[in-house]
Symmetry: C2
Subunit: 274 residues, 2 copies
């Protein structure tokens, strides 16, 4: 470290964008690297408007998921968690905007890394057994680090080696109340890794494959799991995003993206848990 | 053992039934315990009519899958494998029927238990690296034996503890040529166990959930995996069996059940491998 180093604030170029059909205003880095989209909208739509507990948005980035839930669920409290301080400063800037004033006082921001020890997470405000729901949209690339798997079977090609998942699941299990729900969206090829990683900490696993078109393989899987449940897994009917031409979103999906519908209204089998 | 025990043949009451729309005649135990149906028809339909290699029907029972493939694929040879001698005697009786004469000489029967050592399997006629395809419809109850899992994570409720699967996968890996395909149908809650069990021996895993209705969870998953492949997993669009009333089969499924269509003709994404 340089002995005479000085602090210097570097201004982050941002844009202000409507999200969820304009229900919230987001402040996002202008470079577009982490701009929010479909995954964030699906996660937010998986929480029912009647949800009146605390939801932790793990890997919140600029806050798309947590802010949308706070806007859609008038009784909910949201905690945005990320290790990326500049993304969280965007979320903070969004909370200061008049457009978001109706729900801004129900949103907290916590800057920590999911990899940090539980004592650090608690000190930062993530009490054990305090949340009713966790929503997570982990950055897929970070999950595929090249650590060797402790289990030879699992390093097979079709069970993607994703040791980066474990801290996300561990942190979720810590912060959730018993019976609380974790909802996580991942690339389809990480699906089996997620289910394995949930281990004994979660049960009643609902898996909903997300297909770009009805005749194409799944690109994502939305997984919901209940802390401490011993129930088994259910493989839900898929959510299809586009018609066969692959252009516009199907009407139900468009309604979710616009913040006008929940997943439970759009998907025949999904039932929201409050 | 009684020193003066005598052998006694007990006659098995059987019925003769058309299967696959009457393309084959099956001889089945009249008690109906193991009568063939949807799973057998799907497995048979997953093999293309152009298939011209050797297919092993593992857990063949009275032979529905293997006999249907032999009837539908004029260049295929089928080996029916089961540990249940009385079921195999039914298959043998079916092969003797004039209705099945066109393909009977392309069908072999091997009575062994998938749990037996490889040397015994080879002695019985299942040479290593000799088959182009294995089709398997393992009895679900046998897979859920109460052995303790060596891996604590996998004994979680949502990853069904299915140690009974391993001998089926091990036997398939032994008898298949490199690049050969294993096609197995299991209860949906065993899906993750199957994928874990495939391990490093198989890759390019194609998983097709089978839903009774479009709005109901999957009841079965058809899994195809390629020996020695290092490719990842693809989660296919589902196959839906019934319309929303849940009564008759949808036309494409009915055509497969009647032996008039392959899975590749009925399902938008499934491509048969010869």
């Amino acid at each position: 470290m340089l002995p005479d180093s000085t602090e210097q604030d570097v201004l982050l170029r941002t844009t202000v964008d409507g999200f969820a059909g304009g229900r919230i205003e987001m402040v996002q880095p202008a470079d577009g690297r982490h701009r929010s989209g479909l995954e964030a909208a699906l996660l937010a739509a998986s929480i029912a408007p009647e949800f009146d507990g605390t939801v932790v948005d793990l890997g919140a980035g600029s806050g798309a998921v947590g802010l949308t839930i706070a806007a859609r669920c008038p009784e909910a409290n949201a905690i945005l968690v990320d290790r990326d301080g500049s993304a969280l400063r965007c979320a903070l800037a969004a909370l200061a905007r008049p457009h978001n004033a109706d729900f801004a006082d129900r949103v907290q921001i916590v800057e920590i890394d999911v990899n940090c020890p539980e004592t650090d997470r608690i000190a930062a405000g993530l009490e054990r057994c305090s949340a009713d729901a966790v929503v997570a949209n982990p950055p897929f690339r970070d999950l595929r680090t090249n650590c060797a798997s402790p289990n030879a079977d699992r390093s097979a090609a079709h069970v993607l080696d994703a040791p980066g998942l474990e801290p996300w699941i561990r942190c979720s299990a810590s912060v959730l109340k018993g019976g609380g729900q974790l909802i996580i969206i991942v690339a389809a090829d990480l699906f089996v890794s997620v289910v394995n990683c949930l281990g004994r900490r979660f049960g009643r696993v609902d898996a909903m494959p997300v297909h770009p078109r009805a005749d194409a393989p799944a690109g994502r899987v939305l997984v919901r799991a209940i802390k401490n449940s011993r129930a088994g897994m259910t493989l839900f009917p898929p959510l299809v995003l586009h018609d066969r031409t692959g252009s516009a979103y199907l009407p139900g999906v468009e309604a979710m993206l616009r913040g006008r519908a929940d997943l439970a209204e759009v998907h025949a089998a999904w039932v929201s848990r409050c």
